[in-house]
Every structure is written in structure tokens, then in C-alpha cells.
């Protein structure tokens, strides 16, 4: 009997006759080869598309361009400077960021500098301003804003602004927590009269219903007390009645803010800026300067005072606003001369156009006449100066009044849109300009403090939601979470000309492009 076979032998016997199976690839080896082939084909196809497809750049974009740049979504070279392998060197091979950010924005955007002084400052941040893409980040999608820039872009340089101004040694970080009080309010805090203002005006008096007077307005006025349109008309002119149409409640004229303050978007007052009617107007960000003729003249007409020379009295006469001393002297002389002629020599009427020529006085008489007129004009000027001083601070040297500072824009380095905020009453942001609780004491004849609430009043809305805000009246509230980035208020470019808008010529691209060039990304 043979010995039993071992199991190992049994296993090896299974392969008797086809031991070469190891040379035949199994299905996994085949699948591996197929996978490699597929990978090769995929890469090859991608390369072919890369080379031949006209919009292959889209495969590499970080994301869609913003709407203004949508035309160049598939044209990297429209904005980015292309680099070849030959451009690479040991020194720049790792500076991919530098190569990528080598842009040609100025083909279409002039982009004036922030401040010329930045370059002089030098340091690590000086170069920062030379690269548009350091702040303007595209490829964030069609609706991405290129000007919505996070605060860290700004505070990198401006962290030390408070220190530089000497007002606060702390570092600046965010509007909600670190922003300084507005410059004007730092210099002239609430309650302190704003001395640069050269106009004496009391909102309290003018916003009091009836603007109660304790004296008569003039000789024609028969009483004191609340002003009505009828009383003003009797005292001054029919214009006064028209001026307050709709504002006269019977017991007195009640002015509103809009009675004098008009947005730049509104129709100019009748008779004022007639040339502007029918022309496009601004969007209403700012209020127009208050205009004397439209807003003040009805109650505060300017007139030459009654002139007296010897026994003669020469009537006063209306004078226009905004006259220089020389012009005013001429007007006074002319006006008094006319009044004098009428008062002492009716025949002189013939001097007027269409009159007779036979009443011409001899030279000696003319000389006396001139002396009288000169005397009247000099005295009249004294009276007129006193009238100017009712509202204006007297000027120096030969100036009748001190020049008025331009305060259409109170924050020249920031932007503010009144239209965006018109849901609020004016007095919410401009304290002391609303109707006073009681009739103010008279006379209020001083320059008012700055009628702007502090930066905290902005934070009630413009701060991270829930941020604790202490309002000027010491109440504490939670911020509403409305946007509060630096760029929501501050402009960057052309900072030395803060009142220049986007239309400033400094922003004009040079040279302008043709449409074909423009669509190719400019030349």
C-alpha cells in the first residue's frame, strides 16, 4: 500500500499542466493598466483642451469676476501680465503672488494715489499702495463688490492715526470700538460755540412757532408777538407772504427744516438757479447751502437806511445781498443820488431816460450835489454794516463781513448720504435744531455749537449687531448691525482732494480705449 499523499502535494497538483499562470495578468492587473491608460487619456484630453479651447482660462480662474469685469472672465491676459518660463529665475520662482498680482488695471482705471505723502513716508506699507489688488479683490463672483474692503486693509497703515493726531494714544482697530470722535467735535465739543462759523443764527428762534418778537419789526409794524405771514407782508413786502404760504398756522409762522434746507436733488427755489431747471441734479447726498434770497430775505430784507443831509431826508431803498464794499458803495451812491434828486429838484427827473434835457444843473450845483451824495453814502454804509452784522461776523480790513466757511460737507474725508438717512428726523443727528420746548430767551445772537451728534450716534446702527453703544444722552443701546467698515464712509483715492467725486479728472484713464480695445482688455 502506498503512503497517503500530503495536502501540500494535493495543492500543487491542482496546477499541474498550467503552472505558467503567473505570467498571465489577472483581472486586477488588467484593471490597473486600464486605469493608467484612462488617466493618460484624461490628462491628454485636458492638455488638448488647454491648448486649443479659446476659453481655457476659465479652468484656472479662482472664481467669476465681478460684474464690471464680466467681459474678461475668460481672458486672464486682459488684466494679468503673462509670464513665460523664461521669465522665471531663482529669485522670483517662489514669488508667485507677485507675478499673479502684476496687473494692468491702469489701462482702464487711472486710480489716483491715496496721498502723495504716503510714498514719502516709505516703510513696508508704502509699496502696499502701489498694488491695486492689495485692496480690490476680484474673482469673488458677479455680485462681489470691488470696493467693499475689509478694515484690515486700512488699519494696517492707519492703526496709529489716533496717536499721530495726539488725541489718543490707543490703537485704532474698528469703527465700533476705536473710532475717534469726529474731528470738528473733538475741537469744538457739544455746548461749545463753533467759532469758525461766521454766521450768527439761532435754530431755536427760527424753529419756535411764530418766532415771537418782543419789538416791532419796523415802523410799518404795529405790534410785537408771534409773526404771521400777514404781519410780515405788512412790514416788508408781498414776497414775505408768499414765502410762508402753507407754513402760517394763523397763530404764527411755523418753519420746518425743509423751509430753508434743500437737498441737492431737489428743484432749486423759484428764481434761484433758473438755469439749473431741467438739468440733471445730484442724488441728494448733501444739502445745498442755505440761500439768503430764497430763505432769509422775506423776513430780513436788506435796505439802505434813511439818509439825512441838512434838512433833507432821503428814503432808504432795497439792496441786494452778497455785495462787495466797492459795489455796495456805488449802489448806495447811486440810490441816494436818485433819492436826493427826487427830494430837492423834481426837474431832475428829466435826467432819467426819456426825460427832458433842459433842467441840467450848472457845475457848481453838481459839485454840491456830489458832496451830499457822498455824505449820504458814507452814512448809509455805516447803517448797512450794522445790518450785515445782524447775521454776519464783521470782516477784517476792508471786508464788510468775514468769509463764510463752506460747510455743505462737514466730513470732507468721509462720505455721508442724507437721502439714505431721511427716515430719521433731522434732530436725531443734528441736536438743537428742532423746535425748542420753550420760547428761547432773547436775544440769541451768537454762533451756534456744531449741530452734529457724536460718532456714538452712528454706532447705534453702524456697528456689529448687539454691540453695546452708549449714546450721547448716556443711554445704552445695542447696535443694529448695519455695515460699519472703513470704506463704508471713507474714500481712499485722491485723498488730498477729498471732495472730488468719481468724476474727478484725476481718475480719467489715459488714453481712452476704443470699444474693440476695451473688450480685449485694453491696450
Amino acid at each position: 500500500m502506498r503512503p497517503p499523499r500530503s495536502p501540500s502535494r494535493d495543492r500543487s497538483d491542482r496546477f499541474t499542466g498550467f503552472r505558467g499562470y503567473v505570467r498571465i495578468p489577472d483581472r486586477y492587473a488588467t484593471a490597473k493598466r486600464m486605469a493608467l491608460l484612462a488617466a493618460l487619456v484624461l490628462t491628454g484630453l485636458w492638455l488638448i483642451v488647454e491648448i486649443w479651447h479659446p476659453q481655457a482660462a476659465a479652468f484656472h480662474t479662482h472664481g467669476e469676476l465681478a460684474n464690471p469685469h464680466a467681459a474678461w472672465d475668460h481672458q486672464c491676459a486682459a488684466c494679468h501680465v503673462q509670464h513665460d518660463i523664461a521669465d522665471l529665475s531663482w529669485s522670483n520662482v517662489l514669488d508667485a503672488n507677485g507675478r499673479w498680482h502684476k496687473l494692468t488695471c491702469t489701462k482702464c482705471h487711472a486710480g489716483p494715489a491715496h496721498h502723495e505723502s504716503v510714498k514719502e513716508m516709505g516703510g513696508e506699507w508704502a509699496g502696499f499702495h502701489d498694488r491695486c489688488s492689495n485692496c480690490h479683490h476680484d474673482h469673488g463672483g458677479r455680485t462681489n463688490s470691488l470696493t467693499d474692503i475689509s478694515d484690515n486693509h486700512c488699519v494696517g497703515c492707519h492703526r496709529d492715526v489716533p496717536h499721530a493726531t495726539g488725541s489718543d494714544p490707543s490703537k485704532f482697530g474698528a469703527f465700533a470700538s476705536d473710532h475717534l470722535e469726529f474731528r470738528a467735535l473733538r475741537d469744538f465739543p457739544a455746548g461749545q460755540n463753533y467759532t469758525p462759523r461766521k454766521l450768527k443764527f439761532s435754530h431755536a428762534v427760527h424753529m419756535t412757532p411764530g418766532m415771537v418778537t418782543t419789538t416791532r419789526l419796523n415802523d410799518k409794524d404795529e405790534r410785537s408777538g408771534p409773526l404771521t405771514a400777514k404781519r410780515l407782508k405788512e412790514a416788508y413786502s408781498p414776497e414775505a407772504f408768499d414765502r410762508f404760504a402753507g407754513l402760517d398756522t394763523g397763530s404764527g409762522v411755523e418753519l420746518k427744516c425743509a423751509s430753508c434746507h434743500q437737498l441737492d436733488a431737489q428743484l432749486p427755489p423759484e428764481g434761484l438757479g433758473a438755469a439749473l431747471r431741467g438739468q440733471p441734479r445730484a442724488e441728494g447726498a448733501y444739502y445745498l447751502p442755505v440761500n439768503y434770497d430764497a430763505s432769509c430775505k422775506a423776513c430780513h430784507p436788506i435796505a439802505a437806511p434813511l439818509g439825512k443831509v441838512f434838512s433833507l431826508e432821503v428814503k432808504g431803498f432795497p439792496l441786494p445781498h452778497r455785495m462787495e464794499r466797492k459795489q455796495l458803495t456805488e449802489l448806495l451812491g447811486g440810490g441816494y443820488a436818485l433819492g436826493l434828486l427826487r427830494a430837492e429838484q423834481p426837474g431832475a427827473e428829466a435826467l432819467l431816460p426819456g426825460g427832458r434835457l433842459d433842467g441840467v444843473p450848472p457845475n457848481r450845483e453838481l459839485s454840491k450835489f456830489g458832496v451830499k451824495v457822498g455824505s449820504l453814502a458814507v452814512n448809509g454804509m455805516v447803517g448797512v454794516k450794522a445790518a450785515c452784522a445782524k447775521c454776519h461776523v464783521p470782516g477784517k480790513d476792508d471786508k464788510l463781513v468775514a468769509p463764510l466757511p463752506q460747510h455743505t460737507v462737514w466730513f470732507p474725508h468721509a462720505k455721508f448720504n442724507h437721502v439714505s438717512h431721511r427716515g430719521l428726523t433731522c434732530a436725531e443727528c443734528h441736536p438743537g435744531t428742532d423746535r425748542p420746548a420753550a420760547t428761547p430767551a432773547y436775544p440769541i445772537n451768537e454762533v451756534e455749537p456744531i449741530a452734529i451728534r457724536g460718532v456714538d450716534s452712528c454706532r447705534a446702527c453702524h456697528a456689529p449687531a448687539g454691540h453695546e453703544v452708549k449714546l450721547p444722552d448716556t443711554t445704552v443701546t445695542r447696535a443694529a448691525g448695519v455695515r460699519h467698515r472703513c470704506t463704508d464712509c471713507h474714500r481712499y483715492h485722491n485723498g488730498e482732494q477729498p471732495l472730488h467725486g468719481l468724476g474727478s479728472t484725476t481718475r480719467d484713464p489715459r488714453p481712452p480705449q476704443t470699444l474693440a480695445e476695451f473688450l480685449k482688455g485694453g491696450k
Binding site: 502506498r2 499562470y21 490597473k32 488617466a39 490628462t43 479652468f59 494679468h80
Partner: protein, 322 residues
């Protein structure tokens, strides 16, 4: 080396998954609170990209090293395929944070996104392969003690039926000279050769010479029917034959039924037939396990090759504009 063979499978798998997750999440956990991301185009970002490229190229070289595994050089340690594979695994996990940080944990444009997606899929397939390699080989040893070469299962099993014809056709089927038919003939035909060795469990037994068939008439007919109709198709095609022998319980029942009709002297041969069915069942299991064990490799290779190709396109393109 890092994963001791003495550790349990669960522990080894946990270490692999934890290491991968840590590699991916740690830089994120550090950079996110500080908001200190590495820009892909910054110097650090480019350096990371280049480091990743070099590592990936090394990883791809494993394919060549395995293809030419017989090549040797100096120093021998550098040419050790097992060491190479170990470094491949370690660097494969290590390159994950490098590329994720390089990509700022994002995808970017279409090409970077495709490259990153392929990279992540490659890493995932590699980790999956590493996990199954910790777990399934032991399963295979435990579940399939009589394993054979997985790719040759059909051929080996069919070898028990007979030899394959040179040209296959309906008329020229596999010949019936295999062990199954020899056993059948030894039981049902007269005049078995004396001294013939039958491979049965325990090493085989010699057949005594006899003058008449051990199994005759109806039992013989049933035995042939069983083998031709159930056993042979199962050996040939395995689970695909839908044979009841796929189930161990059913197989045991069927063979028990068969034994009831046969004399005890035929039992060793029946035992052997049952064992052949058991082999096939084990090999089917082996093939299934083998598929889990190796199917990830083509996926891993294909994904990594595609990723490497796109990575080079991305790098060249980046140099042009970045």
C-alpha cells in the same frame, strides 16, 4: 513598523484613520482661529506646492519600483521594496496636510478643483487599501484554510472535472477525466484497478480490487445525476451556477442524503466529493475577499496617475499666470 502586527485589527485601523484625520484637521484647527491661512500663491504656498509635487512624484515612483522589483543597487536599504512601500504610506499621509494647506482648504478654479478632488480621492483610496490590508488577510487565513491562487479558482476547480479542450465547442467540451469522474467510476464501474490511490481526506486510501461495482442500479444512477447536475456545474462556475452547494448547510444536507443510499465503503469517496464542493465554496469566499483586498489598487493607481497629470498641468499653468 508603525503598525505592529501584534496589535488588534481594530487598533491598527483606528491608528490609520486617526493619523489621517489628524493630518488633515490639525493645520485647519491651528489656522482657523488665528485666521492665518497660507495663500496658495504666497512664497510659503508655492513652497508647499513644490514639496507636495516632489512627494507625489516619489509616491508615483513606487509603481515603477514594483514593476522592476528585481532591480537592486547600493545601498541595499534604498532598494528594499517593503521599505519603499512603508515610506509610500507614511509620505502619503504626510502630504495630505501639505496639499490642503497649499490649497487653503479650498478647491479654487476648475483645474485646481479637479486636481484637489483627485488628490483627496487618491488619499481616500490609499487609506482604504491600507485599512483592508490590515484586516482582510487575517480574515482570509481564518475563513479559507485551503486557499489557492485567486485568479486561478475557476481553472483549479474545473481541473477536478477534467482537462480543457484545445478548441472549445459544444461537441468538444471538457473531458471527463478529472478526480470527480474517476471517483464516480471507481464506485459505479466494475473492476477498479487494484492499488489505485484515491485522494480522500487524511491522505487518500488505496482501492481494493473488486469484481463488481460498489454502487449499482438506482443509487448509482442518483449518484451520477447528483454529480453531473449539481456538483460539476458548481465546481465549474461556483456561485454563478446557483447550485444549492453554495450553502454549507444545504451541501451538508445533500451529501447526507446521498450517503443514506450508499454503502459505507463508498463514504470515503463521497467525503472527497463533499470536500471538493467545500473547496469551491471557500474559493468563492476567497475571490470575494480578494476583490475587496485588491480592487482598490486599480482605482488608487488610476486616480493618482490622473491627479499627477493634472498637477503638472496646474503647475505649468500657474507659472504662466501666477
Amino acid at each position: 513598523m508603525l503598525l505592529s502586527k501584534n496589535w488588534s485589527v481594530g487598533r491598527r485601523v483606528s491608528v490609520i484613520l486617526a493619523a489621517t484625520a489628524l493630518a488633515a484637521a490639525l493645520p485647519y484647527a491651528v489656522m482657523r482661529p488665528l485666521n492665518a491661512w497660507v495663500e496658495p500663491s504666497s512664497t510659503a504656498g508655492v513652497v508647499l506646492g513644490l514639496v507636495g509635487l516632489v512627494v507625489i512624484v516619489f509616491e508615483m515612483l513606487l509603481m515603477l519600483r514594483k514593476r522592476y522589483r528585481r532591480v537592486r543597487g547600493w545601498p541595499p536599504l534604498l532598494w528594499n521594496v517593503r521599505l519603499w512601500l512603508w515610506v509610500h504610506v507614511v509620505l502619503g499621509v504626510a502630504v495630505l496636510p501639505v496639499i490642503l494647506v497649499h490649497g487653503k482648504y479650498g478647491f479654487g478654479g476648475i483645474l485646481p478643483a479637479a486636481t484637489m478632488a483627485l488628490f483627496l480621492a487618491t488619499i481616500a483610496s490609499g487609506v482604504w487599501g491600507l485599512v483592508v490590508q490590515q484586516w482582510l488577510p487575517q480574515e482570509l487565513i481564518d475563513e479559507v484554510p485551503d486557499e489557492t491562487v485567486a485568479s486561478q479558482v475557476d481553472r483549479v476547480a474545473a481541473g477536478y472535472i477534467g482537462k480543457k479542450p484545445a478548441v472549445w465547442s459544444k461537441e468538444h467540451d471538457r473531458d471527463r477525466t478529472g478526480e470527480v469522474f474517476r471517483l464516480l467510476e471507481s464506485l459505479t464501474l466494475e473492476g477498479a484497478e487494484p492499488g489505485e490511490v484515491l485522494p480522500v481526506p487524511g491522505g487518500g486510501a488505496a482501492v481494493e480490487a473488486r469484481s463488481e461495482a460498489l454502487v449499482r442500479d438506482k443509487p448509482a444512477e442518483e449518484l451520477w445525476l447528483f454529480c453531473e447536475g449539481i456538483l460539476v456545474p458548481y465546481l465549474e462556475r461556483g456561485r454563478a451556477s446557483l447550485s444549492p452547494l453554495r450553502s454549507e448547510y444545504e451541501a451538508r444536507r445533500r451529501f447526507a442524503q446521498l450517503r443514506q443510499t450508499l454503502p459505507a465503503e463508498a463514504f470515503p469517496a463521497i467525503d472527497r466529493l463533499e470536500q471538493l464542493a467545500k473547496y469551491r465554496r471557500e474559493w468563492d469566499t476567497q475571490r470575494r475577499v480578494n476583490a475587496w483586498l485588491h480592487a482598490w489598487v486599480p482605482a488608487h493607481v488610476g486616480l493618482s496617475a490622473a491627479m499627477t497629470g493634472l498637477m503638472f498641468v496646474h503647475a505649468v499653468r500657474a507659472l504662466k499666470f501666477w
